[in-house]
Symmetry: D2
Subunit: 166 residues, 4 copies
DNA sequence: TTTT
DNA sequence: TTTT
């Protein structure tokens, strides 16, 4: 269908360390559990309430799997951009079941760590296992020709500047 | 949890007319089925492939329910902004089941029709039942104090209106 | 800065045909003018008002430039995903000026046509020059290893399905 | 124009404390300067490069102004959701100038603090002046009829609350 | 002017 | 079940 968009944006915390598995041909797949929550004040009682929503996030993108494996830990806060997919499976009684996941796959995916890196180190709290602190595009931390800004921002459109922008 | 975001953005087509139900206290709830799809060319065979994803959308917002009821029909193309929610229910065997939906509720929701209105009239294609063609914020088509431009809108922008944009 | 996001999402109409230029080394750059507008009812007078906002969109991505050149025309409705950039330049008096643009560059960009294709043909209305109707990711219409869904959706995670999803 | 979307999503850090002004009729307006940046590795030299982008954010929403005033400080990391607006003004020579801003106004705006609150206390670093740590919808921290979960929330989700998420 |  |  022309003109279709399927996008999910989450900011939340990992409920557990990432689970990394591999396909038969060796490609990694990372599974995350991410909690988002909203708080509001009950209009009747006036008390503060909170509702937490849990999301299944599946990462097929190899670079982002590597990021998840190396840097993410239970408790880490992340920014996620992916798409919604519902997958069909059979339970042990052979009945159809459906599971909806936020899938990070291909160019249209983002995984960014929002925690300061210093959190780690001592103790059991959330955070990262190590350094980290970068944000990674779809292709992971590697070099990416496309990821760079326009070649030399100032000069990048000099050839076009006969045009007065505003 | 502080600093949480849970947002879904869809552009797709309705697979069926909206279903409108009412709560016991009379508030409307609209259910939509929306299809998004992506197409790509198979690298091996070179042929064009397509994968369609179906989304359950539930509208609790009264104004947007009204919009859905009045203007949306099977086939209509819409822009949707809502949040992800997974709901638990019991099947007839008493087993726990889960259903994930895109929920439009509260201020943080958008439903916008993307079809030109002229589509209607002749033929069986998709589109709207009537006029339509506006985009509606969370509070629906009614007047909305918040929807207006900036408080000092006039002083900020009136002078722009005689400006030729490009 | 770790954990940074800079994203703009627009749905609007082209105010003019795209302008395509080329850098000295031959890469295309497309410039679009896109209008978005919001309508509201004036709370004082009760009359319906509308405010149009004009956006400068610059496409550095080659594939998306090709799409813009081939398929977009004045009046076409598009979905745009890019990032905000402010660029400095000197006016004829040598004074610093700034221009803010929505930039489509790299993997994190989307340009999707939202018009049905049939619009074209007769007359001067908006629409596309030709067929079109597809949506294009950052890499344009060409084959893209990443763009495909998971290999054979149904089987794609069979090796993982010892896990009961919910 | 029907079917229009104008949305900006930023995650970045405040370059300075918020500036709060008031309109003649006493409504607050907050101005923020927010930096986003992206990093990449130069393919030629192999060295790590960074490019920072500065954004002007203007908050007309009263509740969010209050949040900005009370909780945000230079260095704080925030999630912002607003819309793009270009405003015309005259410089001292009477020449037309344009300034593009990210505007938070009305229901379609979000300002969420992403820093852990503990940052504060000792030292000069960024962070908040006080507690904070909540995320605020368009209407700010006050009670909001719309912000609550679905009308029939209890029947939809109360049974979830004794559920162990994973 | 921020942040890493 | 939609759409192209």
């Amino acid at each position: 269908m022309a003109g279709s968009v399927n996008k999910v944006i989450l900011i939340g915390n990992l409920g557990a360390d990432p689970e990394i598995r591999r396909t038969q041909d060796g490609r990694p797949i990372a599974n995350l559990r991410i909690a988002t929550s909203e708080t509001w004040r009950d209009k009747a009682t006036g008390e503060r309430r909170e509702k937490t929503e849990w999301h299944r996030v599946v990462i097929f993108n190899e670079g982002l799997c590597r990021v998840a494996e190396q840097y993410l830990k239970k408790g880490a806060k992340v920014y996620i951009e992916g798409s919604l997919q519902t997958r069909k499976w059979q339970d042990q009684q052979g009945q159809d079941r459906y599971s909806t996941e936020v899938v990070l796959q291909g160019f249209n995916s983002v995984l960014t760590m929002l925690d300061g890196r210093g959190e780690g180190g001592g103790g059991g709290g959330g955070g990262y296992d190590q350094g980290g602190g970068d944000d990674f595009g779809a292709s992971g931390p590697g070099p990416s020709r496309e990821r760079r800004p326009a070649p030399a921002a100032s000069s990048r459109r000099d050839d076009l500047d006969d045009d007065i922008p505003f």
